[in-house]
Every structure is written in C-alpha cells, then in structure tokens.
Symmetry: D2
Subunit: 321 residues, 4 copies
C-alpha cells in the first residue's frame, strides 16, 4: 500500500513514523522546505514535494494522509477523493456539517475510504468502554459525561470546544450511536475575544440518554476522563492513570419494591481490567490500511465522522447564540 | 438566649445538641409523640410540645429553629417572624422566590434575624475560599464550578437540584455576590418520573463571571468539590479529603506578549493551608446567636438567602422548559 | 450468657455497648467511682462495683472481659480463669511469653475460653486476606509486610512495637501460622528515653516466608496497610481506604524459561472485592460468645494469642540488644 | 573538553546524547562492533574503537565516562585514572570498599576528578531535600526512610540491594553525611538462589539518626519515595508523582510541658514547592564537566562515593551473615 502524507508539522511526524512501519510511505508533502529536508533524511525512500498536486497525480499512490491545519482539511480531502485516493484526515475533517456531508457523499460515490483521525476511538481503553456498552454488561446506558480540563496550551484560533471537545464528542457519539435531539453549549472567552476557554456542553438523544462535556484549559486539575453511567454498572476511563485506565463499578441503582416505587442504591465489587498498552496511533493507522484492504465497514467510519461534525456545528451555533 | 426547636427528625438532633450547649434550649416541638419522649429524656430542661403555637405564644422565647420538612418551612418561618421571633430555618427556607421575598420583608420590617441554614457557608474550608476571593489573592475570579456526585440516597420527592444543588448554589452566590443574568439547567429523571437524578447548571453573572454545577446521585465517584479559577491563582475545596480540604494552586494563565496576543500558562507552588476542624454546625449555630445579639449584618444574611431561592426558582423553571 | 466487664476507660465503653446488645451485661467494674456512676445510668440492669472479687464470686457469671491497663492483664486474667470464668482480654494479654503460657495452660486445664482481643483478626478485610491465603489463590506466600505509621498519639509508657506492632503481628502470625525462626527489631527512642518511636521488625519463618513491620508515630503519612506478596497474586489491605479496603493484583513473577533460568514479571487485572462493613468489634464480641457456646476452636484461639506474645517478647529482646 | 565514553549498552546512549551536547564527545568504545557502527552514524565526529587502550593513549582526551557492566567498573576506572584522565563512572564504581578506597587514593594523588554517577543526587527534587535539611528548616533530622518497590525487572546477577539500594543509599548518606555505626540488612532470595529479591536495611549513625530502606522487585506497589522526618518538619520526595515531587509537612512532635514530659503532635500547612523539571542526567553531566573545570569540590564527590561503597559492602556482609 503506497501512502502519501501532507503536513509535516505537530502531528505529521507521528503519522510518518507509523506509516513507514506499516506501509510504503511514498510521498512527504509540506510547504516548508526545511521541514521537507529534515524528513527526507529520515525517510530516504519517500519522495518529498511542496506541491500537493504531485501526490494526486501519482497513479500508484493509494492513499493520502492529511495532517495540515484544520481550515485546509476539507479542501485537501475533497481533492484527494476526487483524484481517487483513500483519505485519512486529522480531526475535524471539516468545519461545517455540509462540507463533511459533501466529503462523505464523494467517498461513498467512489467507494473510497474517508476516515477521520479520531485517535481516541482506537485507544484500547475506549474500545473496552465500547465493548462493555455493546455487550449490555452496563445495563441501559443513562448518561455519559467527560472531563477534559487542564492548564495547558491556550489556543487563540480554535476554542476549547473544537480543540478539546472533538475528542470526547467522537467517543460519546460512537458509544451512543445516535444524533442528539438537543445540543446546547455554554461558555466564555476569558483570554482571547471570541475564543472560548471554558465550555460546557449538554446533549440529549432520541433514546433519552444524555451526555455532558466539561472542557477547559483554565483549570488546576489535569483531567482526561469519561464516565458511563449504566443502570446496572458504571465505568470510568481515565487517561491520566498509568495502570488503571478503565474501572468498572459493580454498582447501580435498582428498584427495591414495585409497590412503593422506592429506589435503593447498590454498591459492589470494583474491577480494573488490564488494558493493552499498544500505541493508539499504531492501531488507528493499521485500521486505515485495513479499511483500504476491505476489512471493516468504510461507510460507517465516514458516517460516524459526519455525526461528529454535525454535532460540533450545532454546539457552535448554540455557543454563539 | 432562649431557643425553641421545631422538627426532631433527620437534622433536628444535631441542632438540639448544639443549641443545648450554646444557649438555653427551651422548647422541643414535633408532631410525633415518641420522638418528643426520647428528646425529653435527653434534654430534661426543655419543654416539649406537639403544638407549634406553644412556642409562638411563649413571650420569653427569643428564637425559633425550624428543621421540619421543606414544604412547611415558609409557613412556619412566617408565623415565627410574625410572632416576633428570630428564625433559623433549614435550607431552603422557601420553595418560591416570592415566598422568600415575603419572609425577608417581614424580617426587615421587624428587624428580626432570618437566617437560612446554609451549613457550607460556616465550613472553615469554604470560609477560606471566601477569604482568598475577597483578599484578591486569586486575581479576578473567572469561573466557579462544583461537583456534588455520588451513588447515594435517591430521593423521590426532591430532585438533585434542590437536594444537592442548594449547597453549592449558596456558596457560589456568596463567593460571587451577584444575581445571575443567565441561569440554565439541564437534566433527566431516570428513576422517578419528574424527579431529576442528574442535573447540570450553568450561571452567567453581570460581571462576566460564570459558574457551573454538576449534580447527580447516579455516579460512581463520590465528589463534594468546588473549584475557583482566578486569573492569578486557582483554589479547590474538596470536602472528601480529610487533611487536604483546601488546595491553592499558584498557577494561572498570563499574557506573555501584548504584541502577539499570545497566552502562556504558568505553573507554580501548591499550598495546602491547615483548616480548622471545628464542626461547621457549631459555628453556624453560634453565628445565629451572634446575629441575634447584634453582631454581624442580619440584613445581608437574609438577602443572601433570598438570592439562593431566586436562583433555584429560575433554574427549576429552566429545567422544566 | 452473663458477662462482666472490668475497666471502663478508653476501650471499655465500646465493649460495654456491644456486650449489652449481644449478651447479658451483668457487672461493670472500675476503680473510679465517677466512671461507675456514668455507666450505671446507661446500663441500669448491670451491677457496678469497684471490687473485682465481686465478679469472681458471682457463681452465675459466665465470662469476664478485661479492658484495664496492660500491666494488669495477666493478673486479672489469671484470677478469672482460676475462678472458672471464660476470659476475653485486651491485647496483649501478658507482657512476657511465660506469663502467657501460664494463662494458656490454666485455660486448657479447665477447658475455658481465653481469647485475646486482637480486633484486626475480626475485620472483614483481614478475614478476606486470610481467605485468599488459605484458598491458595495467591500461590505460595513469600512475604507479608505492614505499615502502621502516623503522626499521632505519642505514648510515653509503651513503645511503638507494643502499641502499634501488636496489631500487625497478630495478623502476620495468623496468616502464616508459624513461630518465626528469626525475630529482629531495630528502632530508636527520639522523644522519651527508653520508649521507641520508630521500630522496624524483620521476621523469618521455618517455611522460608518473611515478614516486616514498619511502625512509627513520627511520620507524615497516615498508613494502616498490609501487603501480602504471593507467587501468583498479591493483595493489599488498606484500612485508611473507605471503599477499597482490599485490592487483589493479578500479577506476579513467573519463570519464563527453565533453560535459562530467566524471570519475567506479569501484570494483569486488579480486583477490589466489596468488603462487608460490619463493625469488627461486634464480630469479635460475637466470636467470644460463640466460643463459650462451643462453636469454634477455643484451644487455637488461645494458642494463637500465645504466639503473638512470644514474638513480641523476642522482638523486645532484640530491640534492647 | 574532550570526553570518551566506554560502554554503549543500556545507559550509554543517554550519556552519549548529553556529552555530545555539553562537550566534545571524542571517543565511543564498545566491544560490540554493531553497537559501534550504530553510534558512529549518529555521532559522526566521534572516533569509535573496540580497544579501551585507544582512549587512554589519546593525550588530548580529558575525561573517560564508564558505563560498562558493574564488575568491570573498578578496573576500567583505575586504568583511566592512572592514564591521567578524569573519570565519571556509573554506580557503583567498585564492588568492594577497599577497591573504592584505592580509586579515591589514586584520584587524590593526581588531583583528578572521580565522580560516581549517582543520578539521584542531581535530581532537582532531591536537591530540594538537601537544601531543606542543610538550612535547618526541618529541625534535627531524626529518621530517613526510603521505599523502592515495584514488580519490575528481576535481575539474576545483582540483588535488590545493589540494583535498587544503591540509589537510595547515595541520597541517605549525602543527606546525613556520616558513616553508619550500624548497618544491618535482612532479605530473601525467592526467585534466583543467592540473589535477594526483597531486602530491608537498617542504618544507625553516630549522631543518633537512623535510616531504613525497603527494596523489592516483588511488589504490587510502584514506589520510589524518600521520607525525611525532622523534629520540626517532615519532607517527602516521591519520584512517581508528576507535579508533586516534594511535599513539606509543617508538622512535627513537640514537647508541651517540661514538667510532665508529655509529648504532643502538631499538624499544620502542607507546601508543595514547584520543582525544576530539568533532566537530572543533564545536570549530572554538567556537574562532571564543572568539576573538571575546577568548580565544586572534587575531593568530596569522590569521598561521598566511597562512603556509599563502604555501606553497600557492610550491608552485603550483614545480608550474608
């Protein structure tokens, strides 16, 4: 499988390293000549270029991996799909729901892979959450809430919803599998006008499930945590833990007596399953190659990505209201 | 100071114990005869009665302490004030903003103490928060958020907002000292129809400050925590900690360069001041007696209580919308 | 069952409360008249006396519970046994191994219960440890170590070994079930001459197992913890935890290859079983009554107690050397 | 400054990277040709060789850095010193006290630097401990104890004392600055005959201070922790913490009343100073270069190293007894 990478900045090096191991890294593209020179030494078998058209014009190139700044994602992804290339594009693949729908349609029409780089979906801990939800072990899922808080990089061009929330949202929607009927965001821009630093999001789904995100880069705590409250069991994924990423609580509320409608709560054992420590990005890159090879459902992957952009779009509207 | 207590159930015994120590516990009133008998043995100097009118008719009685079920608070408090008694009433003192305004007006008209039993306001850890906010040590307060979550008592007659949120709200409003311009609540009633188990509240204030509450009794974590994010420092009050109730983080965001508008974050020392371990209820009861004796600002205490009921009222409306 | 209690000080009230519930609390004995008066009001059915002989002379009295200062234990226990009474005596029952052997012999000769009040042995968390050890789930037990550290009450008449170590030692010897072949203690008396504040103990057993105790009341940490390292699994009992008293680690070392003699370590799931929250003292008192009634092995209980005193005796000698 | 490195295995690459940045990395020496080839590509300016004599014969070479297996340290260090080179040698520099004395003497005779690579002594958190001890802020130091426990690499040629204990011992002796009058070790070889997996060490010093080390690679906990108990304050260095490496407890015992000889304990504020996150190895390498340049006391550094080997030697004897 021949793969071309565009965008060698912040995240690009990690993608280069993985695709060099898993596939044939054929092209490295960046506008910055010095960046290209550095990568050329490390990956001598790859061709380098400053012109994206070179990748699209290569008839032997199977796939394009896009790790450029967010505002360029849609355009570059569209060009690649139209040139008949499979596409892995960093999140979010587009900034408007209708742009993403556009990409999904083109990919579907040509039966190409369109995969957004939602890294968390390939984290073994999050996959454990999904497995617990899907197996019914938790009972009905009532509520999913996430905390992504820290005193960290304060962006001035992208707010906490787009910068932090996209991670949690991809997981929430993947676990619940529904488009929300209500999507409300509140927040404030304390440091840079128009760029919210603290955002709270509330989602309600057709099935009655609810979700919440607490997003902030002005916070004394360092949290990357997701909690799933099921009627039978509850699960927490805590990405700040080293050896206790996933904790399953054998506790839940249950109705003691139909007659009186009284609720009791029940506590029980706690179980911390060992979670595979494989690099999530390695798994993600392999999943992309597998989709190209025909393993997995490429249609669903693209549509899940569209669900995320739709929700981000609606939350942004709510935040601005 | 002669004090009469009405309501000997859940919280009443604690109030009896404290007022017996700090003042002259003159009357014990409850509809349940057995309850009265038990208390009579323990507090032989107090008179017991099943008739609230006995307290109001006692010309020597200075104050009435009300620890009956919530729906009765307003009525009993009103009667006491009209009988010329000072009143300490468990939270919330009323279930509607206009009822609370009514009580505040009567108390003001007769210059009587009307104090809601907001226990957290008398917790030495919360008082430390207040001191840090008021001294300016935190810099501008940007955001206050609270977490009150647990798998605990599931009430069927009072939702998480009224049962859990009243605690946090009293502190948020005390720290910020403003009526919110926006008060929005989201939540769901999973166990008992019409009684929300999980509630998220967002408040925005005239000064631009914001606040958030995460309230739930369907949760694997046991949290009773308040975080204050200031522009210079951040503080956390964690009531689940035994010896580390208050943590001050010497970190905050700050603008590095006016020219580029870039923000940097700064981390620093962490300080955990020793917090007095006095019983908050003892301090609360003493504060009530002090107010009666003329120490402290009785008008502000009543008005702070009214601010809490107003906010609860608006949040309830938002939740029902 | 008619029970008499001698010693109404520090621990006595807890014993009185429990035996009043579980049996017929017939006598309360203390030299202090005021103490007796207070207890008399609370337990009107019990007779009070300042003369221990009154208990021994009561032919209807089945058992004596001794909660007096440590130096009096041996003598009071001996008198009670000689008067034909079953005995529960606070730890340690004697300060010298030969005194304890004496008590065991008298009890055995008259087939009386002689039970030392080793509270931890009745803690549901410690019983879980014992169950895991005895079932073989841990594999061979290699090492047991305990940490009992704090900045707490500094005694001036009893060192950390006797004051703190007696708890851990009772558990270690119960889990391992052997008299040590080596018993070495090191420590220092920083605050009061001759009274060690910090003590480290090392024990080696005939089977090759080892144990260690770290005992201190000059410590910034508050620890009450026991760790059992088995060849297959490891278990921790942490009495400072509220809901996570016992943690089982599915990890251990194992030999990968016989050929090279290389060892690998293996990590795995972590399991935190729900532990019954019954009051350990209630269980202890009931166990005493059961032994009198003929349930359980009264001989073993006395002999286990003797093993503890023997080890304390040897460790004290080592510490003084 | 021209530096030659011998031993390119486990730790060598880290030393190469740092000395390449801080000095002139002139020689790379290893018996393994493939290792040399790999390093040669990365450090093209350095000469490579399989013959240690090449380094010693280079008259322009100022210093030799030794990162070979432990049993070779003494011999290689001796040769280097005799060839007039300054020496940085991984810990421990020798396996016998008299060998280390030998090295110290040669270095002193020729006024050469002989620095053992005790990495922890250059950790900013440990330097904070030292500063707190030396400034008198802790009051008299009473006890230092360390915990280095984990389920980790199980060595078959080096026991837990030499493999883990050397780290803690270097810090304990640096903080206390005395040769112990008592040095006792207990432990057991559970996995490989003759190689202790669990070791407890007790040290007593002329000043009356004591120290203890708990060393194990058969443990469910992952601990790298040092606690210093002073009469006024207590400090903990916890290397498993990310942002809370050093915690200072404003608490200590103090004598309330001379008359009764009673001790009280005092609790107070907790302070967590921000610790510089510089790489300790960078600081260590720079310290070596500084010593060569004449900054710092090269005599003390060598003698501190000798104190460590002497203590290890005595503890080993005790363990074998």
């Amino acid at each position: 499988m021949r793969v071309g990478l565009v965008g060698l900045g912040y995240w690009g090096p990690n993608l280069a390293r993985n695709f060099d191991l898993l596939a044939d890294l054929a092209w490295l593209c960046d506008l910055d000549e010095q960046q290209r020179a550095g990568f050329s030494t490390r990956y001598p078998r790859a061709q380098t270029t400053g012109d994206y058209a070179d990748l699209l014009a290569d008839p032997e190139l199977d796939a394009v991996v896009i790790a450029t700044p967010v505002p360029t994602h849609y355009d570059l992804a569209k060009q690649a799909l139209e040139a008949g290339k499979h596409v892995l594009v960093e999140k979010p693949p587009a900034m408007k729901a209708r742009e993403m729908d556009d990409l999904v349609e083109i990919a579907a029409g040509r039966d190409l892979v369109l995969m957004p780089g939602h890294l968390l979906l390939y984290h073994p801990g999050v996959r454990k959450l999904k497995e617990l939800v899907d197996s019914g072990e938790l009972g009905d899922v009532l509520c999913v809430y996430t905390n992504r808080q820290n005193l960290g990089i304060v962006r001035t061009n992208e707010n906490a919803l787009w910068s932090l929330g996209v991670h949690d949202l991809s997981v929430i929607l993947w676990l619940i599998g529904e488009d929300p009927v209500e999507a409300i965001a509140h927040g404030r821009d304390f440091l840079t006008e128009g760029v919210e630093d603290v955002v709270f999001c509330y989602l309600r789904f057709p099935s009655g499930k609810i979700a919440h995100m607490h997003l902030s880069w002005l916070d004394p705590h360092k949290m990357r945590k997701m909690t799933v409250v099921g009627r039978e069991r509850m699960v927490v994924f805590d990405d700040m833990e080293l050896e206790r990423k996933v904790t399953v609580y054998e506790k839940g509320p249950w109705k003691q007596s139909e007659a009186y409608g009284e609720w009791q709560t029940r506590s029980g054992d706690i179980h911390i399953p060992k979670i595979d420590t494989s690099e999530p990005l390695r798994i993600e890159c392999q999943a992309f190659l597998d989709l190209i090879a025909g393993d997995g459902d490429r249609r669903t992957v693209a549509e899940d990505g569209a669900m995320v952009v739709r929700a981000l779009d609606r939350l942004t509207e709510s935040l601005r209201a």
